[in-house]
Amino acid sequence: MTLLDQVFDIVVCLLLLVLAWRTLSATHLYQSAIFFIAFGLTMALAWVRLAAPDVALAEAAIGAGLLGVLLVDSLRVFARPPETGRDSEPNKPESRDNDVTTSRRRPQFNSAVASVTAGAGCLFLAYVLVAAIHDLPDGGGLTAQAAENLSRSGVEHPVTAVLLNFRGFDTWLEVGVLFLAMLGIFCAGGLVGFSETENPDPPGPLLSWLIRGLAPVMILTAAYLLWLGKLAPGGAFQAGILLAAVGILLRLAGIPLMDRVPRTVIKLGLTFGFGTFLVFGIIALLADKAFLEYPSEWAGEVILLVEAAAAISIGFTAFAFFAYLNSRDQSTGNGDTAGQPRETNPSQ
């Protein structure tokens, strides 16, 4: 632990705090979003410094790949006045820029009284938290147990062993949460189905060249990360998000994917990962073993199979998040979307 290491850590931490502060106090939504994206990048540095490259990979995939895109796409929606506009004058887009201001008339985060009260409360809470964290013992963890059982887990990378074997139940539920969020998004979106993007223009020459080059690279990277997960940082989730990024890229280029896919395939794609895990769990139960217990001599193979299924399903679901939210029909919604024709309905 040299002085320069400490300085680096302190700068990263200060940057994190400043970015978080600016993200929350920015008056423009766009500013907020960019600060947040920068926050995600800085977080990746923090993960790296804490010797958690797996987490850094996940953060990279999420921040740069999925969440950033979802945020930017949502900004577009909020920048435009709603089409119904029944009961309110919406926040006026700034004339120069299609940025959104967050209610200038009552600037909430910046108002003096609220800030002082909240600041005092925050400082107190921060003091309590930091003091409590400081009291935690300097050592401990389950490293020893994990190292001891690593050889029986079927993989060599400890984090993958925990994710897919020791605590596979959590990971199963995690894949389930993605599926669940998709169902939730269907509910929130009023179920009008996938359709082309709002911008079906053909991509320019440069963009189409980029896509032709980048999409295969992304898919190969995903496969690499999936395979790598057995030995080193990498794994199903990171690979899945990269696959989703391929879909997002193609969709942004105006290449229709989701609206051409048959409904059955969509449903299978969404449930594939969650289902594969479950099937292995039930097989284990029927074989008089514990739920999600893998046969020890085949554990590596089963894990790879389950991971591949999970990666494909995660990729498909994460792409579906974006594709569904970005669908054209979405913006024509008014109170009656509920009665939309059921033919396009993805959940049927």
């Binding site: 002085l3 302190i10 705090l17 978080a20 502060w21 993200t23 929350l24 939504l29 907020s32 979003a33 947040f36 926050f39 804490l50 010797a51 958690a52 797996d54 987490v55 999420i62 999925l66 969440l67 979802l70 945020l71 949502s74 900004l75 929606v77 709603p82 119904t84 309110s88 919406p90 926040n91 959104v100 967050t102 209610s103 800030s115 909240a118 600041g119 409360g121 925050c122 809470l125 938290l129 409590a132 964290i133 935690l136 401990g140 963890g141 389950l142 490293t143 190292a147 400890p158 984090v159 994710l163 020791f166 969020a181 998004i185 929130a188 009023g190 995660i314 569904y324 919604g333 109170g335």
Partner: protein, 104 residues
């Protein structure tokens, strides 16, 4: 002067402060989008604490259990954010509201 401070301690302390910032943001920010971002910051702070705890005693590798927990947590948090974004966007389109207050 700061010679005895380990990097995981610096990050753990930052996690505590970030948690408060996220919480304050969640309560004080009006716009849905910023509230959603605030929940993300809140989540990140918790993950930061977990990972810095994992880094306390480096044996041959850092404690993998918190790392796995954080990866699970990141997926869960992103799913929840995507769902929240979907809700916020639909509300905006249907009613023109972008905050919980009745007159935006």
């Amino acid at each position: 002067m700061i010679a005895e401070i380990e990097s995981h301690q610096i990050y753990a302390g930052t996690a505590g402060i970030l948690f408060c910032l996220g919480l304050a943001g969640l309560f004080m920010c009006g716009h849905f989008l910023k509230k959603i971002i605030a929940t993300k910051i809140l989540g990140t702070s918790v993950f930061l604490l977990l990972v810095s705890l994992a880094n306390r005693n480096q044996m041959e590798f850092a404690d993998p259990v918190p790392h796995a927990m954080v990866i699970t947590g990141i997926v869960v948090a992103v799913s929840a954010s995507a769902f929240a974004l979907a809700l916020a966007r639909r509300i905006w389109k249907e009613t023109g509201r972008s905050t919980f207050e009745d007159n935006p």
